[in-house]
Symmetry: D2
Subunit: 261 residues, 4 copies
């Protein structure tokens, strides 16, 4: 049952989509007319409401995490779902894990980590810009995920407070400058993921990685292609995202590798 | 500290990889010589041991879930990490969710779901073949993930016992024959994911999906490309996986859509 | 030396591009000001002219065939350079060849074939729509390629006049209906190329192809990705073409294959 | 009609392929038995012969240029058809053109250029290694394409003899060292294509290109994917080529660009 305070994705028959937070006795204006929020309370997810004079149909859906991050206010480049999901898998994030995420940006990856590590885990976010820090706090609170996330307003040049974290995601313009600090924060066998939009960043980061005790160094990129879901004329869409980022992954070891990949 | 019963990934300086379960007073034969398991106990993940007369270095790593599924015994086509991770994200799987997975096959997706839904969630697996059923039970037990997974040896032609599940993954050769049963098991706003290796399956499945109350119907494919991690000569590897499967996603609604996508 | 009647690509320092045909004593208006065409005559390709009050620089370039087809008037979907060039190679088009192209559309592929078959070869175009026929005639004349192209205003349901052609390109919405006619027009060992934007067309076309004496049946698709040409931040562009068409290729033989691919 | 001296591609019902040159009164041994070449003479392309005791069917096909380059003896990395065909198009190669190709390697690109420029055009190949030079001569002679190709055994560090060539393909490990020499050889508005397998080569080459009078600087890569040609189960093949090379293209102008792309 939908109740006050719930987030609801309104999915219109015209393909329009927007997310609202249900507040009793409030109205929400849309391009089709006003929605009386009172009307939503007590309805089930999956039901229909009608809006405006033309009685346009809107399905009431529960917003997914992907819906939330694409509808949030953001000031930074977002990590795309295709990459975010792969990072969670490659960093082997699981309930109970302790994770560092830096830079936090709009907070989407902090949220993605927080959902998986659960109540017995913890996410430590580092962000040096005040405006991003405030935005991430706001977003995570809105998603109900702030409880097991702690964001610190700090430059990572001074290193991390945590030790023995299970995994660390490094998403800054100059990742090669912080790899030693990252290594120090990780537990033995812990995983690092590094976001590098350009080939130059990948090259410089790899060079530094080989100087430190890391193994299983891998570089990946991910091309997702959507299809027009028309059974009689099945074919990919006309245009797609060509690039978001390269992703580097590596595993911390406790002794110098002597050149082992 | 590594202790008896732990799984350890041995990662050799020659690039070789294998997983062992630590048992006191046992030896494990490798292509380089015997490993005395006693020696591993009390070591930390990330440390090195030396094996054989040539004292070859092996790093002691904690196997990730990806390591586990690629090293398990399997008799079926596996869902690749690139697809498995995206499915988790698109089905919006989170702690506490109740999920159906069918067919179970070797149990890898059951395990992937189980890790995320955590102790307050539940995964229901349906598998009609006895040998797969037994294999999945064995694999999930080995991964320590059987606790919140229940596998049923049954053909899904008779439908599912569960109602109001949050999400359902359908991985069978003829998905178009079970969509009505899937719809019945899902909660309003719940998500279905469908594995279709061929374009013919996608077409037939889409046709049936449009006859049922589903919205947000999407078809995706995922091309992951690895790079040679050499900073002075950065370039993709020579060959890559060209295709694993198409993935269909949709959301259950409670009323007929009248042709809305 | 640039002379009257030459086509010139004006490539501006602001990235703008347009093609003009040089006519003495004429002026051409642009968004930056008038170009006195007289001024171009006698200049070399690669030189600069200045336009307008702000003396904006424009390089004088010789338009390539790609420039010409992207700047032509067209009413139909164009075959992209990535596909057109591969088709030329797979159909093994060479000087002296006799080629059929159908449907002709805007004439771009007729032109591409004509350039390669040269003065001793011949391209036969079939087009059933009057407006396309007229447009293709106009475009090919403009490109100076009409001499060894003969376009026929005719539905291919009645077959082709030519026999023993070296290759044939079939670009119509229902290719599966004309494969027998195509087979009849080809020489033994001759090549057919078929344009199929959807998977459904590919499936239906393959089915018919296997019923006829064709071997070396192949299906391809081509993903071209452009990079931002910035040496310090080398990375792919943000968005790319996701799909143009699938391409089927096959070779005519003189006896039934009995199921040989 | 097949006659003495013709090259014939034998395409077997078991999918095997090989190319022979027809010589009267000779036999050719195959894995299935001997072929009496006499038997081929007078047959048409597309016809069948039967080989060996089991009377296995082989279709007589005319080898395409792709067949020839994949069956030739080669000591170097070949430029793949997907890239070779795109290069021909982007360099706007047409009958009558004068083209430089360096390094020549096994001669495949020289041959590809020679086929298009035709009898009124000319291809100048530069190759510094004696063994490659001899191999390319041999291959081009075999393909019947040596007439309008002239290969020079020389290091391009000393520049090119030709001036005002229409296009130039630069395929050497250190392209950034020869761009000035290339610029000198090209005509105004002429095209350069550069083969760079690694991102590092692309970066270094771009840097140098911007210092010289070149415009329309573009970087491309090409992913071709083949499908299993089975109409009832249409899907891509399992594995594909992940990378061959990046390709840079640019156009020579006669004056410094002052930073224009």
């Amino acid at each position: 049952m939908i109740k006050e305070g719930d987030k609801v994705l309104l999915y219109g028959e015209d393909g329009s989509k927007f997310i609202i937070t249900v507040e009793a006795n409030k109205k929400k204006g849309t391009h089709l007319g006003h929605i009386d929020m009172e009307e939503l309370i007590g309805k089930k997810f999956g039901e229909i409401i009608h809006i405006g004079k033309k009685r346009k149909k809107f399905f009431l859906l529960k917003p997914t995490f992907i819906d939330l991050i694409f509808s949030m206010k953001r000031k930074t480049q977002i990590i795309y779902p295709k990459d975010a999901s792969y990072i969670l898998f490659k960093l082997d994030v699981k309930p109970g894990d302790r994770i560092i995420d830096t830079g936090v940006g709009s907070g989407a990856m902090c949220g993605a980590f927080a959902r998986v590590v659960g109540p017995h885990g913890k996410v430590y976010g580092y962000e040096k810009r005040k405006d991003f820090y405030a935005l991430a706090q706001k977003n995570l609170k809105e998603w109900g995920l702030l409880e097991n996330v702690e964001i610190k307003l700090r430059d990572i040049i001074y290193g991390f407070d945590e030790k023995e974290v299970n995994a660390l995601l490094l998403d800054v313009p100059d990742p090669y400058n912080y790899l030693e600090k990252c290594w120090e924060a990780l537990t033995g066998g812990g995983k690092i993921g590094i976001i590098c939009p350009t080939t130059n960043q990948v090259q410089e980061t790899l060079e530094k990685l080989y100087e430190l005790p890391f193994v299983e160094i891998e570089v990946w990129e991910n091309l997702m292609r959507k299809y027009k879901p028309v059974p009689q004329r099945l074919r990919p869409v006309d245009r797609m995202v060509a690039h978001t980022t390269y992703m580097i992954f590596a595993t911390k070891v406790l002794e110098k590798t002597g050149g082992v990949l």
